[in-house]
């Protein structure tokens, strides 16, 4: 065998071994210890990186979950209880059950209910519009109709209804991540529990104006008359700043307030139709 070849093989081997030893110690010195549970927990999460939990993304949330002594209030709204149970199993803890939420638009100021007082021709963005003035109708609290919530939704659960000019929530797709709540400059979107059998009773108005002013601006406005508060047998309705609010934890879905409301501002969602209504 040629000695040149031998020297080369030996030299390369020695260099390799020396570098391997150096690398081993460097790796020991600069080792980043990461809890392996973080990867396992992250695998359980939906991976949407929507930020609905308040963290920067799913990996960030997994780190917070593993670091927390108790899962407690940490909750993934997209995955819901199912995912949180899985996570709790991995971490050997009990998950806290939370009611499934859904986004609800609290404005019924459609083109029919709320006449326009002026026309907006600027950039189609609610934030820009809200910075310029209070809106194209006499109601300062209602939907601006430029669809910032629609573009904020990463799950395609929101769409603009062209006939009413208001966004519509597709409840089957809504994950209650809260992106639309943060995007709305008028803060008229609320996350509410989906309720028993998906049924809900909600005041679909955000106007804090006095009754006469609110009514003049929009025929579907809550005028703060207090009729619903009086008729509610469970004390679920409070009126603050001329606006009724139904506490979802107290509401027993009796729907007495719905028929009592003089402006039709209280809506019921997903109630089964009565046979009579079908005939009519």
């Amino acid at each position: 065998m040629d000695s040149t070849l031998l020297i080369t093989v030996v030299l390369i081997t020695v260099v390799g071994v020396v570098l391997a030893i150096v690398l081993y110690f460097v790796a020991q010195k600069f080792k980043v210890v990461e809890d392996e549970r973080i990867d396992i927990v992250e695998a359980c999460l939906p991976g949407a990186n929507c930020g609905g939990c308040g963290s920067a993304g799913c990996h960030d949330f997994a780190q917070r979950l593993v670091a927390a002594p108790q899962i407690g209030s940490l909750f993934c709204p997209v995955g819901g209880n199912e995912v949180m149970n899985k996570v709790a199993n991995v971490l050997g803890q009990e998950a806290v059950e939370q009611a499934k939420m859904v986004a609800v638009l609290k404005c019924n100021g459609s083109c029919f209910n709320r006449p326009k007082t002026n026309t907006y021709e600027g950039l189609s963005s609610c934030r820009v519009k809200a910075a310029l003035y209070s809106g194209d109708t006499a109601c300062r609290y209602g939907c601006l109709g430029c669809g910032d919530c629609v573009s904020a939704c990463k799950f395609g659960a929101l769409s603009m209804d062209v006939s009413t000019g208001l966004p519509v929530v597709d409840e089957s797709k809504c994950t209650a991540c809260g992106a639309c709540v943060a995007a709305c400059p008028k803060t008229i979107i609320e996350l509410r529990p989906v309720g028993l059998k998906n049924c809900r009773v909600v005041v679909i108005c955000s106007s804090k104006d006095k009754g006469a002013v609110a009514r003049k601006a929009c025929s579907a406005a809550c005028i703060g008359c207090g009729k619903c508060q009086k008729i509610c047998p469970f004390g679920a309705i409070t009126i603050e700043n001329n606006l009724a609010y139904i506490d979802p934890s107290l509401c027993k879905l009796c729907t007495k307030c719905v028929s009592e409301c003089p402006t039709g501002a209280i809506h019921k969602f997903n109630f089964p139709k009565k046979p009579k209504e079908d005939i009519a």
């Binding site: 007082t117 950039l123 003035y133 209070s134």
Partner: protein, 444 residues
């Protein structure tokens, strides 16, 4: 001829109302005086329903350091103190007064004669300016007494009286300088006295030769007051631009004009200071231009604060059918009026009516990186970059690094953009966000 160095644009000046002499507007039947006519905290109303008031009576007191007095502009009975919508629809506390006659407070000197003998001391002048509710009348409505009290370690070298009136259409200051030049000269001397007798310049753009002539004649007897003719360029009336044009000093980023040794006041403010100090008359009225190509008769009215805009339009015989858009202020920085029942304020310099053709928006194109906006920006910013960063969302650190808070919202970038991108609309929204972040950081 002098002008500022960076950026600027040349819109058509359209000063079609410049030959209409100032005339007093007939009093309306009812006025609603806003408590938020100045920058800063709104005033606290001190009258209640049923009180009778006279012209010049205090009806609102300041509720903070940066705040101001509000006076009744009419005599009559207070019928309500309630929140009402202002021109953009936001609710602000207004004092609503039913007008009965025109009875003035007895201490107000209503004689016509000029009183050029300044006897009041510095402190007395400052107190008078404060109690008369005087604010910057160029549009920003910053309380004047605050501006005239620079920090102890700073000294004002120059007082600049801003008569540039660079906004197209507006002629209120032009008319005031032509008709009340002697009073403005005294007002300038009064403010210069407060600042320790510094050199004063009255700065007027070249498109107002009559005003320049009138002011030069009026100031000839004052050694320390000089009238300067400026080249016509928008936004010359901006504080920092005017300082650059006249003194060649640059105001540092984020700092106040006093850092460059300057105090800038509007000519209407100088006139108001004259009336307050020499005639004991609080700020209750101002000159307002009612103009536009679709307006039959161009007007420069002396209007009392609290006069409904609808009343002004009706009295001046404006045909609202032709007007697609009504703007309070000039076309560049004014606000579109969303509520015609809103009332005039200390900062309302103009009521401009534009037709559908004039306000038509062009379809928005893509940014072609031509750099016109960067050339036009008088603050030396890069509007296209701020726009891109704003559009991406949540890039507030990058926006701050690119000095979004230095934007004076003059609208040069939007005016000059060949793709009709509404740059300022988006920059303004994000500027507010960045300012909020900076303020929160300062609190911590």
């Amino acid at each position: 001829m002098i002008t500022f160095k960076i950026g600027g644009i040349h819109p058509h000046d359209n000063k079609i109302a410049k030959n209409a002499a100032i005339e007093s507007l007939k009093l309306p039947n009812k006025v609603a005086i806003s408590m938020a006519q100045h920058l800063g905290a709104p005033a606290t109303p001190i009258v209640t329903k049923g009180d009778s008031v006279v012209v010049g009576q205090v009806i609102g007191e300041p509720s903070g350091f940066i705040s101001g007095f509000v006076h009744s502009s009419v005599s009559g009975t207070v019928v309500a103190v309630e929140p009402r919508a202002d021109i953009v629809g936001n609710m602000v506390t207004h004092v609503v007064i039913d007008v009965e006659g025109d009875i003035w407070d007895e201490s107000i000197d209503r004689s016509e004669g000029l009183n050029s003998n300044i006897v009041a001391s510095q402190d007395a002048i400052l107190a008078k300016i404060k109690s008369s509710g005087i604010v910057g009348m160029g549009g920003a409505t910053f309380p004047t007494h605050v501006k005239l009290c620079p920090p102890k370690d700073k000294k004002a070298d120059f007082l600049l009286i801003n008569g540039a009136e660079c906004e197209p259409y507006v002629t209120a200051d032009d008319r005031l300088m032509r008709e009340k030049s002697a009073c403005i000269a005294v007002g300038t001397a009064i403010m210069a006295k407060v600042l320790g007798g510094c050199k004063s310049y009255i700065c007027i753009e070249e498109n107002k030769p009559e005003a320049i002539a009138a002011m030069t004649a009026a100031c000839s007897k004052y050694e320390n007051i000089e009238v300067l003719k400026l080249k016509k360029k928008y936004p010359q009336g901006g504080e920092k631009q005017l300082i650059d044009a006249v003194t060649k000093h640059q105001v540092p980023s984020g700092a106040l004009p006093i850092e460059a040794g300057c105090v800038v006041q509007n000519v209407a403010t100088a006139f108001a200071a004259y009336e307050a100090v020499q005639k004991n008359k609080p700020l209750i009225e101002r000159v307002m231009t009612v103009t536009g190509q679709c307006v039959a008769e161009q007007k420069n009215y002396l209007v009392r604060f609290g006069t409904p805009l609808s009343y002004i339009l009706e009295t001046s015989g404006c045909n609202l059918e032709n007007a697609a858009k009504i703007i309070s202020g000039g076309p560049m920085m004014g606000k579109a009026v969303a509520n015609i029942e809103a009332t005039t304020q200390k900062g309302s310099s103009c009521l401009l009516m534009l037709t559908k053709e004039q306000t038509a928006r062009m379809p928005i194109g893509n940014c072609i990186r031509c750099g016109k906006c960067a050339d036009a920006c008088p603050m030396g910013l890069e509007p296209w970059l701020l726009y891109k960063l704003s559009e991406n969302g949540n890039q507030f650190d990058a926006l701050e690094d690119n000095k979004i808070f230095d934007c004076i919202e003059c609208g040069c970038c939007t005016f000059t953009c060949p793709s009709f991108i509404p740059l300022l609309d988006i920059i303004r929204v994000n500027k507010v966000e960045v300012m909020k972040i900076i303020r929160n950081r300062a609190k911590k």
